[in-house]
Symmetry: C2
Subunit: 461 residues, 2 copies
């Protein structure tokens, strides 16, 4: 299969994409078994880019890169790898290499790395950790999946609430070695380790040493319960412009801290999930094997088959009508298709608005009414258009009327169903992004075919 090499201008409009020329050069180096050249190519890359590279080549090439460039696959690269190929990579690399790679990571990264691995792989990695780290990781794993407890880092920088700026700075200088890589706030705690506020490092640096920390507290302070779902955490960071937030257990004691970069990653994943679910695609990635992807897409197609058969059953009720008037068979998909599209528009807006907490019980009736009205107005416009098309094409004025009326009814129904179905699913604790599409399309198909054919049977025959 021919490979396409990018023109230079493409690289410029896409500053952060892996250059195709780089990928090609890596393939060449690997094919030639040229370890030095591979090192030259991989060395300047950020761990995230090495991970992307491993995801973009096929599995044979990936193994060759791993063999020849094993030294470049450190803990950070493993962290950045997509789940679907991470397992493969970990399995393929020597155990000692993995152990060493993992020891350099912060505990929250280790948690992220091992939480989706199979039992034996997970155990092997945990065994490789220093005792204190292993305990920390195991504690994190004891919190529910997708909870704040899994997301947080346990390394926190705290100061007693009565300290001055100077005392805090001295403490930091004396405990340099134990500080996490990145931190943005000092959390003030009471004697029971309950956070009472926090101070930004910028404020500390600009304040004289003798000033009490308690005087330069930030006003935005939102401790997060350790069991809170990570999607709510991401929402809070985005909504309240948080940079870091303390995580507390049920007694209000500080157990960790979540920083905005973790929240951003969650926000990104949640969006990805919503988009894929709306399209009836489960999780997964481009690196998955054909059989895995097939399996993942099958259920949604199967649901669609059922709904399509339901719609066909409606059509089957009108076989006699269609046999007499074949133009109906020609025109009926238009009504169903327009309803399906209008329904998808409404439901996508509703699903998003539920996710961003803009569509709530307090404004739902207003939104439902608005969507129905939008359907009515667009329906009337398309009714006129299709009425004319129907008359001109088939020369039967009543056919124009029938398709026009069916269009109006179906677009109003699409607006109503597109909003009410996600709201009802949300109420029933079913993810509206996942299930709304099937219901709404069934409704618009069934209503579209039924109204059009039933009207035609009544009026035309």
């Amino acid at each position: 299969m021919s490979e396409h090499i990018a023109e230079p201008q493409e690289i410029e409009v896409d500053p952060y994409a892996l250059a195709d020329t780089l990928v090609a050069a890596v393939r060449l180096a690997v094919a030639a078994g040229d370890r030095t050249r591979l090192a030259e190519l991989l060395d300047p890359l950020h761990a995230a880019d090495v991970a992307d590279l491993l995801e973009q080549v096929d599995s044979g090439q990936r193994r060759e890169i791993l063999l020849l460039g094993v030294g470049h696959i450190d803990g950070d690269v493993l962290s950045e790898l997509d789940e679907s190929i991470r397992e493969d990579v970990i399995e393929f690399l020597p155990d000692e290499h993995i152990s060493e790679a993992v020891r350099d990571l912060e505990t929250d990264d280790v948690v992220d790395l091992v939480e989706d691995l199979e039992e034996p792989q997970q155990a092997a990695i945990l065994d490789a950790l220093a005792d204190a780290d292993r305990v920390a990781v195991e504690q994190a794993l004891s919190y529910p999946e997708t909870s704040a407890g899994r997301l947080m880092q346990r390394e926190v920088v705290v100061a007693p609430e009565h300290w001055s700026v100077g005392e805090t700075i001295d403490y930091l200088r004396n405990h340099k070695k134990e500080l996490p890589e990145q931190f943005y706030h000092i959390i003030l705690v009471d004697p029971k380790m309950r956070p009472v506020g926090y101070v930004t490092l910028g404020k500390m640096l600009a304040t004289s040493r003798k000033v009490p920390m308690a005087e330069v507290l930030e006003d935005s302070f939102r401790p997060i319960p350790v069991t809170q779902d990570e999607s709510e955490v991401a929402y809070a960071f985005n909504q309240y412009h948080l940079i870091s937030a303390p995580v507390v257990d049920e007694d209000g004691r500080l157990v960790g801290v979540i920083t905005i970069d973790d929240a951003m990653a969650v926000l990104d994943e949640e969006h990805e999930e919503d988009i894929l679910r709306l399209a009836g695609v489960g999780e997964g990635s481009l690196s998955d094997r054909v059989i895995e992807t097939t399996k993942r897409r099958f259920p949604w197609l199967f649901v669609n088959l059922i709904t399509a058969i339901l719609a066909s059953l409606v059509i089957a009720q009108f076989e006699a009508t269609i046999a007499q008037f074949v133009a109906l068979a020609v025109l009926m998909p238009i009504v169903a298709s327009m309803g399906g599209n209008a329904g998808t528009q409404s439901l996508t807006v509703a699903v998003r608005s539920i996710a961003t907490k803009d569509l709530t019980a307090s404004n739902m009736w207003r939104v439902v009414r608005r969507e129905a009205l939008v359907g009515l107005v667009n329906g009337m416009i398309f009714a006129v258009v299709m009425g004319i098309v129907g008359v001109v094409w088939f020369g039967t004025p009543m056919l124009g009327v029938v398709i026009g009326v069916a269009m109006v009814v179906n677009l109003v129904v699409a607006g109503l169903a597109g909003t009410l179905v996600p709201l009802i699913l949300e109420k029933l604790n079913v993810d509206p992004a996942l299930a709304s599409g099937a219901f709404v399309t069934t409704i618009t198909d069934v209503v579209g075919f039924f109204v059009f054919l039933a009207l035609a049977a009544a009026v035309l025959l």
Copy 2:
């Protein structure tokens, strides 16, 4: 219209949503003209929540809240408001109030606030600013829309590259008043104001005063060109886990800094846009008027009408066949619908993978081949299912064969079109999220109807 009041448990599962009881209480306070009660309700709220409240009520109630609670609508609330109602609010509030509110904002927030306003509103707000701020805002507005220049804040904290940690701390203490609200790094610059690296505040605090700043530089340092598109900026922050990044002009001189909270907001908007575009919904929000929403959804429905008519024209070629064999009219929507759904699955994955730079020229043929294979495998399964349904339902074995073959062909075509169409559009610099759907659905509809009906005409008659 009846209002729904939430049960207490709902509030708990949704910790950051505005409580319906709060919205109801605000409505009551406004209806009673009770300024004190309104203040009690609004005072504890974050600006983002006040903005959400204004978005959730209808326009009449919104104006009553603005009249009675004008003191609560400060610059931060205006910043948080959705564009679609921000203009209304600014128009409704007294000019002096707006001027005062805007004066408290940082310049990047003012830019965000005014960039989408109409000329006279924009001019009024700019006039209200202090001279230095107005110049800064006007300069920012001179950069292209959605560029790094619009996103950055101009307030930067820099130090000459030869300074020590102590010198830098002293400088910060002496220039306390001029420091921005939030900053996470000190940017080191050469004499020509070109950034050479940066130091985290945490590292500075933990380092002795005499150590040169240049010794504690971070290794992740990625200056961003001022004209770079904000979507690329957001990608870089997410990919490389940046917290802040210096923005440079074409001579490499420092002109501003972008922080991760701004990048997170952009990432959120970009995703929102992608989801809505994939569903054929333009920008806009729940607070828009019916007529605006109708106008925005119309073009996509119109495009869909054209594609649906195209599909109908295909059906029309086989009127004679359908007249003889009405079962075809009953079954044909199933083939088209399955193709449409499989196509949507493939195209959504492709659009997302292009956005995340995982689908590139270097792996496109592998992905296309994989999607076609997935279509083939699923197509064969559904061919068997539908073949059986066809035979059982209509008792005509050949009908089962026809629908089976059509299903396989259409699902393979769906996989191919779903991947190739977004790739081609991207190549042509058309947003694949916006336009792929119409093309792919047209292809699967036309192919679905044609293969099914043409085969039927050849085999059954």
